[in-house]
Amino acid sequence: MISKPVTHRALVIITFLLLSVQVFSHGDLTKRINQKTKEIVENPNDFKLYYERGFLYQQHVEFNKAMEDYLRSTSLGNTDKVLMYRIAEVNYLSEDYKNALSSITAYLEVDSINVKAKKLEAQILFKIEAYKESIAAYHYVMKTMVDIRPEDILEYTSIILAENNKNFSKAIDVIDFGLTKVGENTLSLQVKKLEYLKDSGQVEKTIEQYNYFILEYQRKEFWYYQKAAYLVSINKSKDANISLKLATATIEKLDAKFKNMDSILELKQQIKSLESTINN
């Protein structure tokens, strides 16, 4: 479990590298940048134009150029808080967390209740491993945001566990809160809940959670198999066998068109090999 945040961070870094190394052919963005440049040549002291081009650069994943334009816009007198937010955002995206923090702090001095800014603050604090502060900021986001996405809830729980990798009870509480906000059957949250119940060794509740999926979904074969795999991992082979039998029986009852689908063929193989593990 301790490795979880690391894996997550690795993914973020890889994504970031992908983003920064490749040169993208965003035809329309390039065109619009060139257009803005022309306008800037005509009005070299218009801070609005630098801001606008900076934002285009930002979307084009050219963070250095975006920052140059933002700073230029600032020095020309742009005091708009949106610009302050963008500066923090670009610092964050280019992994300059120290500057990101100081710019988002400056923003929040002007507008302390902006939920988007609080979220960015929480993300920056997470990056510099100020987990407690990050949690506090994200808590505000959770309480305030009108349309929370499942992704927000998942991000919040990952910060909670980064701060204390044993704090599954709080993480699960947050998931349960999230389910009341975005819908009780929200798949990504129910799957994360399952993961947390498993990782915290709550056997009964984990099995209950598998049963929730089995009862909720019209096609159950994949859930039966996953439940069986879990039961094997906690040495309940007899129960695992029953779950595998249910998986097989469910596949048998599937419409013929599904029985030869690649995913079902693979599942059958997995069932076989798990059965042979149990019986050996």
Binding site: F24, T186, R219, I242
Partner: protein
């Protein structure tokens, strides 16, 4: 009674006022300039249609109540749904409807009707019950939102097509928007010009669905899930339309007849394997029992148009992360936009590399085209339709069709594409009976000049007759016999064995019944799947039975 009179007076007034202002009278009434001066500025448009419900949305210039009158007879809209809060952006859900049924409607406020169609061209036809096998037509529009004449020509070409279609003419079961619905940044005013003002005639009788494009994403804020895109559209987040609950309008799914539609967000949401959207899509596709699966997302898995799917990270990630999973679970058709061209693939499977690694001779695992016709044109009157069956479940056609509003060229030479055109147009998908117990999924590319420049067919056999596996009335073994009529299960073990115990486990693996007898009454057991563990003095048998 009062309301009816008001309605009639209003109708007369409207016709009169139109005959005054417009010599060529159109019966379509979008706004009625009465003394109240409340006008409908947007809509009505239909959202999140299901077999039993639909959401009607519209906008008025002044805050007022929301009233929808509806009914199955145009001359008598006997039912009313209303919300008395004074608002300008109206949203009314009609529920408790009958599947596959035409409901006429009009919209208004407490004082009367504000918008109606005197020719009966404002209606919703509810979706058929999930799994129904019937003719379905979807109009597919990629990157339409230019608000220019090209967009209108493409629209009109489809209107002509559907008005003269040989089957179900005039009927468009749904509109599928592939994103970038309103240039340049998906602002509300841009949506008005490029979306509502252009497709208004279709919006009042056909449910519109969409995925998020990058231009929509410039005004829509994913961090707070707000902004025009999210305000304008209302999509099912809790599986209301037949799919799995995603908890977000950024990605969602729905069923229509026997087709399952999966709408992904290739722009804002994480495209990682194991991310929230991925996990959702995996569960969603593995939970459908429908015959066809269609996926929509904005950034093209394959394109050498104005965007290059070998260079942009979003197409690469969608192709590498999502396509193997969707293909393994039976996706049939993938619809993308972003590049402003029409690029249509062969019958593909497992081609996740760059364009230059496409190898049509490779027809096995990790291979690229499927079946004997897979590398053909997919035309029934030429190389033959692409084929799927109970045994051959692989193969999907990918279409990058982002030229419903403009064309932007590009190399247009992606090897996986059968055809690449720098032409304006939109697509129509039609699913119909093949007359042989299967169905055809036909897609046509309709140019702005009414020409059909491309078409293909995917034929799927054996789906019209449902697969009733007559397996001994739910009995699945030799030892165990399920006597459905007498509600008994009998156990017959080998002669040299002695029965010791019979245990019944229910569908979540709980032990619910024990017996030592070889004839067991099951009249009190609930219906469903059971695992039966039969222990003899020599062996344990594990069987399953479905009690009906």
């Amino acid at each position: 009674m009062m309301k009816k009179i008001t309605q009639i007076v209003m109708m007369l007034f409207t016709v009169y006022s139109f005959s005054q202002t417009e010599p060529i009278a159109t019966a379509d009434v979008n706004s009625i300039h009465s003394t109240t001066s409340i006008n409908v500025e947007r809509g009505p448009y239909l959202q999140s249609g299901t077999p039993t419900s639909v959401i009607v949305k519209w906008r008025t210039n002044i805050a007022t109540e929301s009233v929808v009158n509806y009914g199955t007879l145009f001359s008598s809209l006997t039912k009313t749904e209303k919300n008395l809060t004074l608002i300008t952006d109206h949203q009314v859900t009609l529920s408790g409807l009958t599947p596959n049924t035409k409901y006429y409607f009009n919209i208004g406020n407490n004082k009367g009707v504000l918008s109606q169609d005197l020719t009966g061209d404002m209606y919703v036809i509810t979706a058929p019950a999930i799994g129904t096998k019937q003719f379905v037509r979807a109009w597919i529009l990629g990157d339409p939102g230019t608000a220019n004449n090209s967009q209108r020509e493409v629209r009109d070409a489809y209107y002509d097509y559907v008005a003269n279609a040989p089957i179900n003419n005039g009927k468009t079961d749904m509109m599928l928007f592939l994103g970038d619905n309103a240039y340049n940044t998906g602002k509300d005013a841009e949506y008005q010009n490029a979306f509502f003002d252009v497709y208004g005639d279709m919006f009042k009788k056909s449910v519109a669905w969409s995925c998020l494009g990058n231009h929509d994403g410039q005004s829509a804020d994913s961090a707070t899930q707000s902004g025009p895109y999210y305000d304008i559209f209302t999509f099912p987040t809790e599986g209301e339309a037949g799919g799995t609950a995603s908890g977000t309008e950024a990605y969602y799914s729905f069923d229509y007849a026997n087709i399952h539609f999966i709408i992904l967000d290739s722009h804002h949401s994480s495209r990682e394997v194991g991310g929230a959207m991925y996990n959702w899509a995996l569960t969603d596709i593995q939970n459908t029992k429908n015959d066809w699966i269609v996926t929509l997302f904005h950034h093209p898995a394959y394109s050498k148009g104005s965007h290059d799917s070998d260079e942009d990270h979003r197409p690469i990630e969608m192709r590498e992360n999502f396509m193997p999973m969707l293909e393994a679970n039976g996706v049939d058709l993938v619809l993308n936009g972003h590049s402003h061209s029409y690029e249509r693939s062969y019958f593909l499977n497992g081609h996740q590399g760059f364009a230059n690694t496409f190898n049509p001779d490779e027809i096995s695992k990790g291979g690229h085209t499927v079946g004997s016709t897979g590398h053909g044109d997919g035309k029934t009157d030429s190389n033959g339709a692409y084929e799927k069956s109970i045994e051959a479940t692989e193969g999907a056609v990918y279409i990058t069709t982002g030229s419903a509003g403009q064309i932007s060229g590009g190399e247009l030479n992606h090897q996986a594409m059968y055809l690449s055109l720098n032409q304006l147009g939109s697509c129509v998908m039609e699913v119909e009976d093949d007359g042989k117990g299967g169905q055809n999924l036909i897609v046509k590319f309709i140019r702005e000049n009414n020409e059909i420049d491309d078409y293909f067919t995917i034929n799927k056999t054996g789906i019209v007759t449902p697969n009733v596996v007559k397996n001994k009335s739910g009995q699945e073994s030799k030892i165990l016999t399920y006597l459905e009529d007498s509600k008994l299960i009998t156990i017959a073990v080998n002669k040299n064995e002695r029965l010791k115990s019979v245990k019944f486990y229910n569908n979540i693996g709980e032990l619910v019944k024990r017996s030592r007898k070889d004839t067991i009454k099951i009249s009190k057991m609930s219906k469903g799947l059971y695992v039966v563990e039969i222990t003899t003095n020599k062996k344990i048998y594990t069987e399953s039975v479905t009690i009906k």
